[in-house]
């Protein structure tokens, strides 16, 4: 199975063992929304964002409805969790668990990736799969997300689809 990761273009590293390809996105791209705030998320989805990475891991029914209507993908950026320490990190892990469960129960596609701004917060496929299991995503779904979903998002960002 071929795995793909999504990072910001400020990361120099081009390859990491285990990944078929690493897709790079710019900070100001309009294809993947990276941030928080209900209004900003809804605005991004309505204006062409294929994927949404909610950095405070907060989601509600309004956002879920928009994501379902526009068939967007919900991304879980693990670098946000790994940048924190102690209780902050534990709190984010709990929120990510709730987010993943809420999304999967509502049949929303999940993408798992590093979304790192620096090489220090990069992860191998094995690490991303194990981190997904920590937030109660099944291993089979994590592998599907790392391969099929990330490939589709990455190619959309590169303009290949």
């Amino acid at each position: 199975m071929k795995y793909y990761d999504i990072l910001f273009d400020c990361v120099q590293r081009e390859k990491l063992a285990g990944f078929e390809k690493i897709f790079k996105i710019s900070e100001n791209n309009n294809k993947i929304f990276f941030g928080s705030g209900d209004e900003a998320i809804i605005h991004a989805i309505r204006h062409g964002a294929l994927a949404v990475a909610i950095t405070n891991f907060y989601i509600n029914r309004k956002i879920i409805a928009e994501i379902k209507e526009y068939e967007a993908t919900l991304c879980i950026p693990f670098s946000i969790i790994l940048e924190k320490k102690g209780f902050e990190r534990t709190g984010l892990l709990y929120k990510a668990t709730v987010l993943a469960k809420f999304a999967l129960n509502n049949k929303i596609e999940l993408s798992i990736g590093s979304f790192a701004h620096s090489e220090q917060f990069l992860n191998s496929p094995l690490q991303l799969i194990e981190l997904s299991k920590i937030i109660k995503i099944r291993e089979e779904y994590a592998k599907y997300s790392l391969s099929e979903v990330n490939k589709r998002i990455g190619e959309y960002c590169e303009g290949k689809t």
Partner: protein
């Protein structure tokens, strides 16, 4: 009954110094916790430049991989660990391809 193990090949983002083993052990106890540390039972097998092999119990494998993802600072130095390969034997881990 034989306890099953896993060997993990890990690449570090920085060169590893002579105190790496003790520093890593200290950080792993913080991440995994003193209760689960004995279940995971991590043992550093060998170091080669930026790469090292670590052995753990099969049941603690997932916790060790997550702990290695969470360690971002070792002895006041920024560092990252990337778990590249895993295997039941060292031979298949170090064989090419």
């Amino acid at each position: 009954m034989k306890v099953k193990h896993r060997y993990i090949l890990v690449e570090a983002s920085e060169e590893l110094d002579k105190n790496f083993k003790d520093n890593l052990r200290r950080e792993l106890i913080l991440c995994i916790g003193s209760i689960d540390y004995h279940l995971v039972n991590p043992r550093l097998i060998g170091i080669d430049g930026k790469e090292f092999i670590i052995k753990c119990s099969l049941e603690g494998f997932g916790k060790l991989v997550v702990a290695l993802s969470m360690i971002k600072n070792l002895n006041n130095r920024d560092i990252a660990f990337y778990t590249l390969k895993t295997s039941g034997t060292i031979k298949s881990l170090t064989s090419s391809g």
